[in-house]
C-alpha cells in the first residue's frame, strides 16, 4: 500500500522540468566521465600527448572539473528561471482572482 510523506511537501510546479533537466545534465556528464576512465585504461599513452605546455591527462582532468562547475551553473540558471516564471504566473493568477 502507498504511504504519504512524513513531511509537508510544498507544491513545486517546476519539479518535472527540473527533474528532466537534471537527468539530461547527468546524462551529458556521465559519458564524459566514462570516456576519461576508459581512455586512462585503454590508452594510457594517449594521456601523455602534449597540449601546449600541458598534456591530455591534465586538460581532460581539469576539463571534467570545470565542466562540472559550468553545468552546475547552467542548471541553476534554467531552474531558477523556471521557478520565477511559475512564481510570476502564480502572482498573476492571484491578482486576477
Amino acid at each position: 500500500m502507498e504511504h504519504g510523506s512524513p513531511v509537508d511537501l510544498e507544491e513545486d510546479k517546476s519539479e518535472k522540468y527540473k527533474t528532466t533537466l537534471g537527468l539530461k545534465m547527468v546524462a551529458f556528464f556521465i559519458p564524459v566521465y566514462l570516456a576519461f576512465i576508459l581512455v586512462c585504461v585503454i590508452s594510457p599513452t594517449f594521456m601523455a600527448k602534449d597540449i601546449g605546455s600541458l598534456n591530455v591527462a591534465i586538460v581532460f582532468g581539469f576539463g571534467i572539473i570545470i565542466l562540472a562547475i559550468i553545468q552546475a551553473l547552467i542548471y541553476n540558471y534554467f531552474c531558477s528561471r523556471k521557478e520565477k516564471e511559475h512564481e510570476a504566473s502564480a502572482r498573476k493568477t492571484e491578482v486576477a482572482e
Binding site: 545534465m25 566521465y33 576512465i37 605546455s53 591527462a57 571534467i64 562540472a68
Partner: protein, 638 residues
C-alpha cells in the same frame, strides 16, 4: 623528519579550537528543538549551507590525503579529486531537490517517505552507521597524524583532542553548531589553499629547493666498479662494504665509514651507489633514522626536480599555473620508493630515489596499475574502474552529506547550496594538483608520513602560514567528524529509537538521545582511530565511498525514479549492497596485505575495489525483489 613543537603553531591551534567551541556554545543557546538539533532548524541560508557542504565534504582525505598522494604519485592522486568532484553531479542533478522534499532529519527519512516501513528504517539506519564509522576512522587517524607535527603531542592525544572537541560541538548544538563550524572551516580552507598555491607559483621551481630555514640535503653518489658475480668495489677508500642485499630487481649495499653504517642503492647502469634514507627498527633499541635518533635531524625531507629544461642546477623564478605544470612535465622529478630489508634482527625500511620523467608524473599509472605495457593485469584495470565508479556514485549516498539538505528551508535552496558546494569544492580540487606537485618538487615530503605534505609545504614558506594551514587542517577534521556524528546520532535517536523501536519521545527527549548517542559514537570513534593508527587515510575513505555507493545509492535512485520500487526491494537492496561491499572489502587482496598482514595472493578475490560488483548487484536485487513483492502494481511494505 623531526617535528618540534612551535609556540606560534600551538597558539593558533588553541585559538582555533577555543573559537570553534565558543561558537558551538553560543549557537547551542538557540538549538533546543529536535529540528534545531538534527537539522539546524531548517533555516540556514543556501550560501552558508553551500560553504558548509564544502567544509563537510573536504575531509582529511581531500586536504591531507590527495595532496599527499599527488606529492608521491603525481597525477594518480589527482584522479581522486576528479572522482570526488564528479560525484557531486549525481548529488546535484539527481538527488538534491527530491531528497530535500522527502526527508526531515536523516537519510532513512527520505528513503522511507513513501513506505513507512520499519524494515527500511532499520536497514537505512544500519547503513548510515556503518558508512559513518568507515568514514570516521580515517578522520580520527588524520587527527592523530596531524597533532604530532603541529604541537608535538603523541598520536593518541590528537585523536582524544578531536574526539572530545567534536563531542562538545555536537552534544551542545548538533547540526546548528556543526553547520557554522563547517562553514568557517570550508571558507578558510578555500582561502588559505589559494594563498598557498599562489605562494608556490610565485616561488617557482628549483633543482635545490631550500626552505626558509632548511638547506635542501644534497643526495650524493659514489663511483663503484661492479664485479660480475662478486659484488662492488668502491673508488672512495674511506668506505668499506659491509653487506649486500639483493631484493627482487634491486641491489642495496651496506657501507661503513668511521663506524657509521649506511645503506646505498646500486645503479648498475651508471656504476654508482646512490644515497638512500633508512628507518631501522631494532629489537632491543630505539628506532633509528638514517642511523641515529630522530631528534638528531638526519632524516631529510625530500622531493625535488633533478633537472629543469635539461639544466641542473636551475631555477625558474615565478611561474603561471600552466608553465608550472609545463616545467615539471619537461623536467625530471626525483620520487622515492621504499623497500623493507631484514638485517639480522633489525627491520630496515630503505627509501630510495626514483628519477622519473615529468611526463610520467603527469599521466595515470604510478599508483594505479592500468598500463598493460607496464605489467598491468586485467584485474588491475577493473580495480581502477571500480574505484572511479565508487567515487562517482558514493558522494550522493554519504549520509552525513545527505542530511545537509535538511538544514535549508526549501528545495531551491538545497539546489543552490549544492551549486555553491560544487563551485567551491571544484576550485579546491583544482588547487590540490598544485599543492601536491608543489610538495613533490619543494623538498617537503616526509617519507614516513605522506599525509603531511600539504602542511609541510606551507612550512616551507614560513611558520605563520604553516600554523594557520595546520590549524585549518585540524578544523577540517573537526568539521567532517561533527557531520558524521550528527548523522550517526540522527540514525540512532530518530530512526532506531523513535521510528523502529517506536519509543514515544518528546522533542527534548529526542535531543537528549541524540546528545547521548553523539557522546557514545565519539568515544567509539576515538577507540577505532587509535586501533587503526597504521591505516592509510585515503584507502579507508575509498571503502566508505564503496559501501555508500553500494548500499544507499541504488535505493535512493530507485525510490526517486521507479514507481515499482517496494519497501522489501529497498530493504533487500540496502542489505545486499552493504553485505556484498563489506564482504568483498574484507576478502580483498589489499585487506589481506594491509590489514591481516598476509600475502595479497592468498586472497580469494582478484580485485580490491568492490563497487563494480556490489553496485549493480544492489540495483538488480532491488528490481527483482520489488517485482516479486508488488501487490496489484502498488508499493508494499514488509
Amino acid at each position: 623528519m623531526n617535528y618540534a613543537a612551535e609556540p606560534l603553531a600551538i597558539a593558533i591551534f588553541v585559538f582555533f579550537v577555543i573559537a570553534v567551541l565558543f561558537i558551538s556554545w553560543w549557537i547551542a543557546r538557540k538549538a533546543k528543538s529536535a529540528s534545531g538539533y538534527f537539522a539546524a532548524g531548517g533555516n540556514i541560508h543556501w550560501g552558508v549551507n553551500g560553504v558548509a557542504f564544502a567544509g563537510d565534504y573536504l575531509s582529511a582525505a581531500s586536504f591531507l590525503g590527495i595532496a599527499g598522494l599527488v606529492a608521491v604519485y603525481g597525477f594518480d592522486g589527482f584522479l581522486y579529486s576528479i572522482g570526488f568532484l564528479a560525484g557531486w553531479m549525481v548529488a546535484l542533478f539527481v538527488v538534491a531537490e527530491p531528497l530535500k522534499k522527502l526527508g526531515k532529519y536523516t537519510f532513512a527519512d527520505a528513503i522511507d517517505a513513501k513506505f513507512e516501513s520499519r524494515g527500511v528504517i532499520l536497514t537505512a539506519a544500519i547503513s548510515t552507521l556503518v558508512v559513518s564509522m568507515f568514514y570516521l576512522i580515517p578522520q580520527m587517524v588524520g587527527a592523530g597524524t596531524l597533532i604530532t607535527p603541529l604541537i608535538g603531542l603523541p598520536f593518541e592525544v590528537g585523536v582524544l583532542i578531536v574526539g572530545c572537541a567534536v563531542i562538545l560541538i555536537v552534544a551542545t548544538a548538533g547540526m546548528a553548531s556543526t553547520t557554522w563550524v563547517q562553514f568557517i572551516k570550508g571558507g578558510l580552507l578555500l582561502v588559505f589553499s589559494t594563498v598557498l598555491v599562489i605562494t608556490v607559483l610565485v616561488n617557482g621551481l628549483s633543482t635545490s629547493p631550500d626552505q626558509k630555514d632548511i638547506t635542501y640535503h644534497d643526495f650524493v653518489t659514489l663511483e663503484v666498479t661492479v664485479n660480475a658475480g662478486d659484488g662492488v668495489t668502491i673508488a672512495d677508500s674511506s668506505y668499506e662494504v659491509v653487506k649486500e642485499f639483493g631484493i627482487e630487481d634491486a641491489t642495496f649495499v651496506k657501507l661503513s665509514k668511521e663506524n657509521i653504517k649506511t645503506i646505498w642503492k646500486l645503479d648498475e647502469e651508471n656504476s654508482q651507489l646512490v644515497e638512500t634514507q633508512t628507518v631501522t627498527r631494532q629489537t632491543d633499541g630505539p628506532v633509528l633514522y638514517n642511523g641515529d635518533a630522530k631528534d638528531v635531524g638526519l632524516f631529510y625531507q625530500v622531493g625535488h626536480l633533478s633537472e629543469i629544461d635539461g639544466n641542473s642546477p636551475a631555477e625558474t623564478g615565478p611561474l603561471d599555473p600552466f608553465s608550472f605544470i609545463g616545467k615539471i612535465k619537461d623536467g625530471t622529478v626525483i620520487r622515492w620508493g621504499s623497500q623493507k630489508i631484514t638485517d639480522g634482527t633489525d627491520e630496515i625500511t630503505v627509501y630510495y630515489q626514483i628519477p622519473t620523467s615529468g611526463k610520467d608524473v603527469l599521466i595515470p599509472g604510478l599508483k594505479f596499475a592500468i598500463d598493460p605495457a607496464r605489467g598491468a593485469t586485467p584485474a588491475d584495470r577493473v580495480n581502477f574502474v571500480s574505484l572511479m565508479i565508487a567515487l562517482f556514485l558514493g558522494t550522493a549516498a554519504l549520509p552525513h552529506i545527505l542530511i545537509r539538505y535538511y538544514t535549508v528551508p526549501n528545495a531551491a535552496y538545497a539546489r543552490k547550496s549544492t551549486i555553491v558546494a560544487v563551485v567551491g569544492i571544484g576550485l579546491f580540487y583544482l588547487l590540490t594538483l598544485y599543492l601536491g606537485l608543489g610538495a613533490m618538487t619543494k623538498g617537503v615530503i616526509d617519507l614516513t608520513n605522506g599525509n603531511m605534505s600539504a602542511p609541510l609545504l606551507a612550512r616551507a614558506f614560513g611558520l605563520g602560514i604553516f600554523a594557520v594551514i595546520s590549524a585549518i587542517a585540524f578544523s577540517t577534521i573537526l568539521g567532517t567528524v561533527s557531520g558524521l556524528i550528527v548523522a550517526s546520532s540522527g540514525a540512532v535517536a530518530s530512526d532506531l529509537m523513535q521510528k523502529f523501536i517506536k519509543m514515544n519521545m518528546s522533542e527534548n527527549q529526542m535531543v537528549k538521545a541524540g546528545r547521548i548517542t553523539a557522546i557514545l559514537v565519539g568515544f567509539i570513534a576515538m577507540g577505532l582511530g587509535i586501533l587503526f593508527k597504521q591505516m592509510n587515510v585515503s584507502y579507508l575513505v575509498g571503502w566508505a565511498f564503496s559501501i555508500a555507493a553500494s548500499a544507499n545509492l541504488p535505493a535512493i535512485v530507485m525510490v526517486l525514479f521507479w514507481k515499482g520500487t517496494t519497501a522489501k526491494g529497498v530493504v533487500a537492496s540496502i542489505t545486499v549492497g552493504l553485505v556484498s561491499a563489506l564482504g568483498l572489502i574484507l576478502l580483498s587482496p589489499d585487506t589481506f596485505s594491509q590489514v591481516y598482514g598476509l600475502p595479497s595472493s592468498s586472497s580469494p578475490l582478484p580485485i580490491s575495489q568492490p563497487a563494480i560488483v556490489s553496485v549493480p548487484l544492489s540495483f538488480i536485487t532491488l528490481v527483482i525483489v520489488s517485482l516479486l513483492t508488488r501487490k496489484n502494481g502498488k508499493r508494499t511494505r514488509p
